[in-house]
Amino acid sequence: MNWGVAKISEVDEKRMIALSTRAKEAIKTALAITIAMGIAMQMGWDEPFWAGITVVTINISSVGVSLSRGMMRSLGTLVGAVAGLAIMGLFPQERWWLMICVSLYVGFCTYMLTGKNQSYFWFLAGFTCLVIISLSSPPESQSAFQTAMLRTQETALGAVVYTLVAVFIWPRSSRDAFEDASRRLFAVQSQLYRAYRALMRGKGRPEDTRPQRIEELRLLKQVEQLLNAAETDSDEVWEVRHQWRLFHQQSTELMETLGHWRMSLPEIEPLDVTRLLPDLDALHAELDLRFAQIERMLDGQAPTRNPQAITLTVDRDEMRALTYFQEAAVVVTKTQLENLERLSRALFDCVADIRAFTRQAAASAVKPARRSLAIDPDRFGAVVRVLVTLWLAFLLWVYVNPPGHSLFPMMAGIFAMIIALVPPASPSLLFLSWGGGAAFAGVLYIFVMPHLSGFAELAMLIFGAFFAIQFLLGAPRQALARIFAMVSFLILISIDNQQTYSFSDYANDVVWIMLSLALAVATAYFPASPRPEKVFLRLYRRFYRHAGFLISGLASDGQRLKGITGRWRAVFYQNDLLELPGKLAACGQKIDYRVLPATTPEQVQDLVSSLYVLTFRIKDLVEAGAHPQAELVRERLRDDLQSWHQVIAARLERRADDPTQFIESSFEVRKRLAERLARLEASIEAIFDQPGKGELSAAEYKNLYRMLGSYRGLSEAAIDSAQRAEGVNWAPWHEARF
């Protein structure tokens, strides 16, 4: 029977349901917040906005990422609640001991949240403890327990509601994004391999590969993040998750091997590598086929051939015509190519296992060897700032009693932890997003909410408000501003079952929240400016300081690395040195280059790339030093190597004072380096010319070449880095800005 409603045509129907991704995400978020708060109010729970805050903070791009954040939030809340109750139980009437204990716990959580793993869990564990203790002031065991339980159950409610909405309404899986990123990563690595192969034959320029190297690093991180998400929201990925972890590990190793190969190319460029390594063409042909087969398998197609074993040999006759340094360069290159052969075979097996094209299971991912325990100074700095903020706010509460009272130190501590979690969140972003959310909340709280009656109308308001915020701030780069605006809005509209309206309460809440934010922002500038260019300069100085210390300690009379303190410092500096280029790269991307005329982002990226190379060379030298050298070599080369150490260490230490200063022209340094190389060559010839004493075993030869290659590589890398630094106009970097 026709009810008088015209049937909608298929074209119109498609138009009606064609919503943008941004609109869909906004609907999902608004719906989840409305349902979560509705359930909390229906259950008669106080502070229903905690359930809403959970939805706001776990709402990220895909179901998998949201699920893992939801789980981390729930676990972190539980751990924080237990810690808060335990601390309150230990010191219910001793405020100073309570604060000391809270400081130790929050400091530990802050150190862990600034790391690479489970940072969101540690953030929740830390800030939930602050919330439980502050909201239970004055401390009373029943209210503290009720607050802890309420927070835990509302957090779990928010996580469950958002999970259900995300799974059943327009679910976004990470699987396609993850597999696409994996394909693109391997494609970029294949391109880099081919580019380096061409460079080896004298074709192309090394700087042409820079965009692909940057893309490779970016994709490697993206694959890891997407794998964490895809494991959770895709059964297909979950079943072969160990193999995908192995693929990521091998891709990382491939990146390092390709990087080492590229760094050794300038040393063998003048040589006829095809004659020195007769099987080189066959190896390259085999590697080409393997890379093509792996790309084919990643696209879902079966391989057409299996890898063939191939061995690289050296033509001894051709090698006799080379100098010792040239021989060392060939030996090092041969090692890199053999690593490449091994890795490509392992990758082939791994990808074949993932796609089920083979019955043979690939080896499991090896957990990376844990670095020795060493404190990261930047993470420790973040801990100091959070604790300073917490104590300042606590002392203000005790002696001044600002608005917010016991909530003031809580909020200041939370803001300080947020600034530690997402540096450098600029002050303007923090103030504008919180202030914007507060202003929006104020308008609705004063002019709209008093006219609402019943949950249906309130639900429409909540849905509309959150849809608007999510839609307007829906871009991924606006995620932080969106979260801040939503949380500020939720706190200030103060929804509760027993709803009351008080302008003075709203105004006082705005005051203490913004004051606590101001305090956290102010302490972020202590003791050094968090501006990206200032952070860059500090990290750059630290890089040379640590490098100089490590190099001087490797000398034969290296006293500084001996003893417990020396060894601990060596471990500490080595670990930090390996992290510093990554931190410098991240810093370089955040700099506002409009305030640094005559400096381009490309110049800074080039400089950071040269520091990566320098770090690898130092690492190679440290590893080469760990291998035993023949007694003859140690004795005869001691003076030459010691003078080399002194020159390099002196240059690095001068750079540590001010890495931006011009010391001397690279031409002069290269000239001195060439003279030292010639002296070293003569010393080595003298060793081998001694009758009966010039015989070294194969292992001793290999170690000798490795050591020589490391020294030469380090010198070249240091000069290259200095040259790139000379090209940057450093004067504006030192200028104070606010």
Binding site: P377, D378, G381, P403, S428, M514, L515, A528, E735, R737
Partner: protein, 63 residues
């Protein structure tokens, strides 16, 4: 007579004085920062060399 304002009203609505002071303070700070950065006025600030050295040493040892 105490001339320090302790109450603040707009249209008969009482506001916390700290809210108005804070809002005006943030506004003033923002404008000051914008002017200082735009005209590079930090070049005219005097900082004794000894203080600069101490500052650099503290930052290097802490960071």
């Amino acid at each position: 007579m105490n001339y320090v304002p302790s109450e603040f009203t707009i249209g008969g609505v009482y506001f916390p004085p700290l809210l108005i002071a804070g809002f005006l303070g943030v506004l003033a700070a923002g404008m000051t920062v914008m002017l200082l950065n735009r005209y590079r006025l930090s070049r005219f600030f005097y900082l004794p060399e000894g203080v600069r050295q101490v500052e650099a040493t503290v930052q290097d040892n802490i960071s």
